[in-house]
Symmetry: C2
Subunit: 410 residues, 2 copies
């Protein structure tokens, strides 16, 4: 069968060579990566990738958000099967987050060449711009602007830490890659994203492949607790209004709420803190912290939204920063991906994604699914991010089988 032949044509050596070469653009600390979206390192990586695509005889397009589309034509002029991910990284990121999905997609194109197979539908490997959101807010910028192009105008005003706007960075991309034709959104038959799990579930289960059923919904809030700054030495405890202690109590109440609502499924993080005036000898008059709460059940998320205010002190300020509903992937795509895993001869696990991915937005455009491979110790966004080479190969083989199978669909 065609899909199986392409699966077998996947070259482990070539795959690892592609990953190694990509990692030369924007090396970071301790063997990790620092390739910020639309940075010079990103541009160098894109130039290398475009060269590879052209050697493969593929046409390459860009669009208004600097997404790259590498298209291998099919036998018929039907909507394409898309795959891909992103190549920007966290400032102290690893070599695999996003990059793996793009390089595995490219390897599938090589394997198709080697196997001498032209699929019925075109296959496109996509590089989505600025998925991480670490240079420019928001994350998943490229995929969300692709699916809803009206978002782009607002995105262009967002600035990075140096005051450079998305618009300026996109214009620099246009100048750098002036030869690339631009293309608007097209219909797609399906989108499949292969990614590292970035969590510990597959590793703990000892299973090499995850077929992702959907993505958890998320609520991001900011809570600002207010107190009165006063001298640490002169103010008796009974007369203090210490914003930091108030924030700690509030964290405890929010934790209790999440326990009640989510039980063992709780995913709750207080990751960002700012204390004012942040002096050793002054009682804090302001303590601000972020809440990241995730769940797969829209009803749990709604209950969290409703009951959160009751956890807060009277004069705390609550600000909603971001909210995204859970995503359920397409059952037909999931079914193909399950067969793709079976074709590798390895066990698979249905798994829910705790992280956002470009596939979250693509699911609003076409039938979408995702494959996961294990992450050692569940570590990601970190130079220690690692997946066994054999697991990376298995994931790529499953992707090849799935893409070809979808691309042969009428």
């Amino acid at each position: 069968m065609t899909a199986q032949r392409v699966l077998e044509a996947v070259s482990a050596e070539r795959l690892h060579g592609l990953l190694d070469t990509l990692a030369t653009f924007g090396p970071g600390e301790r063997g990790g990566m620092n390739r910020q979206a639309l940075s010079d390192e990103d541009f160098q990586a894109r130039a290398w990738l475009i060269g590879k695509a052209q050697q493969l005889g593929c046409q390459v397009w860009s669009d208004g958000c600097a997404n790259l589309f590498i298209r291998r034509e099919g036998r018929e002029d039907l909507p394409a099967v898309m795959t891909g991910s992103h190549i920007d990284t966290q400032p102290t990121g690893g070599r695999l987050d996003g990059c793996y999905g793009v390089m595995a997609g490219l390897e599938c194109l090589y394997a198709l060449e080697d196997a001498g197979i032209r699929t019925r539908r075109p296959i496109e490997v996509v590089v989505w711009t600025n998925e991480e959101g670490s240079r420019f807010s928001p994350g998943a910028m490229g995929s969300s602007a692709y699916v809803e192009p009206a978002r782009l105008a607002a995105y262009r005003n967002n600035i990075d830490a140096n005051g450079i706007s998305v618009g300026q960075a996109l214009d620099a991309h246009s100048r750098r890659f002036a030869d690339l034709p631009l293309r608007a959104k097209i219909d797609a038959h399906a989108f499949v994203e292969l990614h590292i799990e970035q969590g510990p579930v597959l590793e703990q289960a000892g299973i090499a492949l995850g077929v992702v059923t959907g993505i958890q919904g998320v609520r991001w809030y900011q809570v600002r607790c207010k107190g009165v700054s006063a001298h640490a030495g002169t103010t008796p405890m009974s007369m203090r209004r210490d914003a930091l202690l108030l924030a700690i109590e509030t964290v405890s109440r929010i934790d209790g709420l999440a326990d009640r609502l989510a039980g063992d499924d709780k995913r709750l993080t207080f990751g960002r803190w700012s204390v004012l005036p942040n002096a050793i000898n002054t009682i804090a008059n302001e303590a601000t912290f972020s809440i990241d709460f995730r769940h797969a059940d829209p009803a749990v998320l709604a209950a969290f939204d409703e009951q959160l205010a009751a956890c807060l002190p009277l004069d705390a300020e609550l600000q909603s920063l971001f909210s995204h509903a859970p995503t359920a992937f397409d059952p037909a795509v999931i079914s193909v991906l399950e067969q793709a895993c079976d074709a590798t001869g390895r066990a698979r696990l249905p798994i829910r994604s705790g992280a956002f991915h470009d596939a979250m937005y693509l699911a609003g455009h076409c039938p979408t699914g995702m494959l996961f491979v294990p992450s050692r110790d569940g570590i990601s966004h970190n130079p220690l991010e690692f997946t066994e080479p054999a697991q990376l190969e298995t994931g790529t083989r499953a992707l090849a089988w799935g893409l070809v199978s979808l691309a042969e669909q009428p």
Copy 2:
């Protein structure tokens, strides 16, 4: 009696005029002050003050740390009675912290002139440089360098947020006030510092004057809790090592230790926090916080030092940032200041200082004492810092009585 005549010669109008004029140098936000040590605003205030002193017929000296000594000669060449405080402020400071003690001292010199009295001993009003420590570390720089001149060499290397060193700032002071003669440390008969309480005790008690028995000792520590950064969406709670949650647990244990050791006398503050990577969607791998623990009993401070490590998680890093033993003021000076308060006809309260003051270092040089006036709502280091004008006047009268009484001692 001489002291009573000077007490009665204190002019409320002149005192408030001095305070109002000083507040024109370095006005801050919301009616407060921002006059950083050795800044241009500080220099302007010093130039004004030197002019006032010279009009009064006083000689003015400086020294290697830019302290200013305004000397009114006595009838005999005996060690002087010194008074004074500082005129640098917190970045969002008030008009009284430090400034009140210097302006009240100056008003006492005016009152001596008006009363036509020359005391047996000289009286000096001192401006100690950089008491706040907000521009340059450490605080009480001028008074500590005066008492232990060997400290100055190390202080000169400390830099402010703009990279300007203490040495450079002191050299700028020397150039600006090139006419001022320099003087080394001299013997002193006594030092008295008048200050706002910066706490709520006098106000709560409804008493206008506090005779300070001593200054609490202090321990400053920094605790760094370590975790593992991981993705907020993908990492089950049971597999997390969240440095922020670890820090919150540790705060709770340290709080329990302070409760056991200090009971109602507890003064414990966690004022400075730093969380890494400080991102909404990443579990913290490092949470660092400061501890400010104060007590009057050296045994309690020692027990805190001994038992603190047992409150910390295994791999936390504990760093001692600062430590100062409690200060007990001189019984003979305290006795004179009690009589000085009685001479005003107002009630007095023995009180322990929760804040550091220049008097803490002077106590290592000569018999030392302090007087407090109430702070509204206990607020200081804040534009809202306020003391009733009548209370400021009462404090100045008590200071005048005390200085003259000490200066008449044989």
